[in-house]
């Protein structure tokens, strides 16, 4: 892979910017997705959909404890086993325990960011359990040994020829430039996995409190396979996924579909309310639901609740001019990239420092806020996070000193004028100073004017014909 997700932020960015194939793939894909989204929203009352989706999500978060209790009660009544996990380690412990109890050897998974978040695949493999990603994109990157680089289209960073090459080496198939052929190869390979798997694992798009139902949105049908074929089905849901009613889930499903891929609705919307019923021919004998916190309650405690409204559609990622230049891997070892990733990656961590560069990886252009289907004010959250980082003294010392000089000088006119005079005198030499050097490497620096506006204005005085100026 061209971007090493384990490297430091500046290295990751440099690697991404140097990769022309990556950036060509990102350009093409994000433009396509943006176009599809716009088309899908043109056909509906997009403003109302947005207002209502926001209200529905906000209601759920405001009533989170009550809704979670209701959800838990209904899941249990439906025959599910409910587990609570405070963090990744606890969630992994639960999954492994369920796997051991059921003598599980083969796991099939549908695309799920929360399982990426907790590093589930590694944990299963370390315990000697085979785990296969069944979403086509996830399957491809699993073969390539890479993490996903986009929450909706995980293999957005790869071109057709790259994928053909991966299949040639890993699956021993002949080279092809036909996506349908690659798709057929994957269908055959994964079909046999579905048929032998003893456990299916999925994430959760929405968990309906009033009925105790776990909803999965997919286009390929792997979500149905994972929830229907193996004897044991485990759904892992972030605690923020709960919604009030069936109607709310159906609303959010439509909002997510239109905003993610520009479809009216995804091909499949699977609503699982428990194990197979008496007389059913298929469906799991056991259904487990793991409700995981892993930093989410801390997000609420820190009043970043807006970030928990997210329905993971990826619209903010596809519109982001920064993501388009660097792609998902530049955001590091996190499944969440783009603006929402820059917000929740540092928030999910106990320590903000490892991801402290991410909130600054934005020009604050605001395009993300305008497209968000649940109206998350992402620039605001980025600004607030930047402030938190500075307050924790996690910003570079030179920057802190620079800002102090700035604010000391500019809070009064005299030192401001003095500083401006000094800058004028330094002239182009200023471009040699470390912060400006970064500017001047690729851009001509501006030149200070011989006379400031204030001076010109004073000198001009009250000239005739210029109106009654001061």
């Amino acid at each position: 892979m061209t971007v090493d997700v384990g490297a430091a932020y500046p290295t990751r960015v440099r690697q991404a910017l140097a990769d022309d194939a990556l950036r060509a793939a990102l350009d093409r894909a994000t433009e396509h997705l943006r176009g599809r989204r716009a088309q899908a929203l043109a056909g509906v009352d997009a403003t109302r959909l947005r207002d209502e989706a926001h209200a529905v999500r906000r209601y759920a978060i405001e009533h989170l404890p009550d809704l979670l209790e209701q959800l838990e009660g209904n899941l249990i009544a439906n025959g599910c086993q409910v587990h609570w996990a405070r963090d990744a380690a606890e969630a992994l412990g639960v999954v492994l325990e369920i796997a051991h109890q059921n003598h599980v050897k083969d796991v099939v998974k549908s695309k799920s960011m929360v399982t990426e978040e907790i590093g589930l695949n590694d944990a299963l493999q370390r315990s000697g359990i085979d785990v296969v990603e069944t979403d086509l994109g996830e399957f491809i990157i699993q073969l390539a040994g890479e993490p996903p680089s986009h929450i909706i289209t995980p293999v957005i960073h790869k071109r057709l020829e790259d994928i053909s090459e991966i299949f040639q080496t890993k699956l021993d198939t002949p080279p092809t430039d036909q996506p349908a052929e690659l798709c057929d190869t994957a269908r055959r390979a994964l079909r046999s996995e579905f048929l032998i798997a003893d456990m299916g694992i999925s994430g959760c798009n929405f968990a309906i409190a009033e009925t105790g139902t776990i909803c999965i949105v997919t286009n390929e049908g792997n979500g149905r396979m994972v929830t229907s074929l193996p004897r044991v089905y485990v759904a892992i849901a972030g605690i923020e996924k709960v919604v009030r009613s069936v109607e709310d889930a159906v609303l959010l499903w439509q909002a997510a579909s239109r905003n993610a891929t520009g479809q009216d609705v995804s091909v499949y919307f699977s609503m699982s309310s428990g194990p197979r019923r008496r007389g059913d021919s298929d469906g799991p004998d056991e259904m487990h639901v793991i409700l995981i916190d892993n930093g989410r309650s801390r997000i609420l405690e820190r009043r970043y609740g807006d970030a928990t409204l997210c329905i993971r559609c990826g619209a903010c990622i596809n519109i982001c001019p920064v993501y388009r230049e660097i792609g998902g891997h530049a955001y590091g070892r996190t499944p969440y990239s783009g603006p929402i990733g820059a917000v929740i990656t540092p928030l999910l961590e106990y320590d903000i420092r490892p991801a402290r560069d991410l909130p600054f990886a934005s020009s604050l252009c605001g395009a993300c806020r305008d497209v968000c289907p649940v109206k998350i004010d992402l620039p605001r959250l980025l600004l607030d996070l930047r402030s938190d980082i500075v307050e924790r003294r996690a910003a570079p010392i030179a920057e802190r000193v620079g800002m102090r000089v700035y604010s000391t000088a500019l809070r009064r006119p005299a030192p401001y004028r003095a500083l401006a005079r000094l800058a004028r005198r330094l002239g182009r030499l200023a471009a040699l100073l470390p912060p400006l050097k970064r500017w001047a490497r690729t851009r001509e620096p501006p030149r200070f004017a011989a006379k400031s506006f204030a001076t010109l204005w004073r000198e001009r005085g009250r000239r005739p014909g210029e109106g009654a100026a001061e």
Partner: protein, 253 residues
């Protein structure tokens, strides 16, 4: 309980109660209490008589890469099922070494919306496979071979071309999932305008909760299985059916 998560549960709830209750908002902007619409406004729209709803359903299904036919009545639909099973079966036999008889992975005859369709298909020489336990290895292996799935639909929606299938006795999930072709029988009486209208009618009958909870799984399906993961090229049938063909028929007399 496999894992004692009581302590985890209590701590999570304690934190949430602390964060979510009281005067302090968990959000950046403390808006005046925002009451979400209950139920939300329908996103899509459709109207007209049952014929025009049927046509709209078909057109939307087609837009989602599916296909459809509108037939006069159940009798015509039955004949069409037999005819299609034969055509497709013949096509398969020409290309691969398929089974001698035409196999159909189907819902149980009583779960299909056309009476005696099962009988008719058997008389026509097709073999109807209705799995009783997909966890049984032989049943599973047998079901996995079949290329044609046949189901009814619990509901269908004109504004999106979607169908709803609720799992249950005689209504295997496999029939609409494993075969490359899914043939779905849609009586016009089951076609609703929108999701929201259908949900509202279930809610009014106080049947919504039980509809979901009686079934292990309720699934909305809109067209064949799709992926755009490879450079955003649309490919069909990556896991589920490559084709979804709806036979819509008039059942209101």
């Amino acid at each position: 309980m496999i894992y004692d998560s009581i302590e985890a549960r209590d701590e999570i709830f304690a934190r949430l109660r602390r964060a979510c209750s009281g005067s302090r908002s968990v959000f950046r902007e403390a808006l005046a209490h925002l009451k979400p619409p209950d139920p939300p406004t329908p996103v899509t729209h459709a109207d007209g008589d049952r014929r025009s709803l049927a046509a709209r359903f078909g057109a939307k299904l087609e837009a989602a890469s599916g296909s459809y036919e509108i037939l006069e009545d159940a009798a015509e639909a039955s004949q069409r099922v037999v005819q299609l099973a034969r055509e497709w079966g013949a096509a398969e036999r020409a290309t691969e070494s398929a089974a001698e008889t035409i196999e159909i992975l189907s819902w149980a005859s009583r779960a299909l919306p056309i009476e005696n369709l099962g009988e008719l298909l058997k008389q026509a020489g097709t073999s109807l496979i209705v799995p009783d336990d997909m966890h049984d290895e032989r049943t599973r292996a047998r079901a996995a071979r079949v290329n044609l799935g046949l189901t009814g639909a619990d509901a269908a929606f004109a504004s999106t071309g979607s169908i709803v299938l609720a799992s249950g006795r005689g209504k295997s999930r496999a029939a609409s999932l494993l075969p490359a072709r899914h043939l779905v029988l849609v009586p016009m009486s089951r076609i609703h305008t929108t999701f929201e209208a259908w949900l509202r009618s279930l809610r009014a009958k106080q049947a919504l909760g039980s509809f979901l909870r009686v079934s292990g799984q309720v699934v909305f399906i809109t067209g064949p299985s799709k992926s755009a993961d490879i450079e955003l090229y649309l490919t069909l049938g990556v896991h589920g059916p490559k084709s979804v063909h709806a036979l819509i028929f008039d059942d209101i007399w």
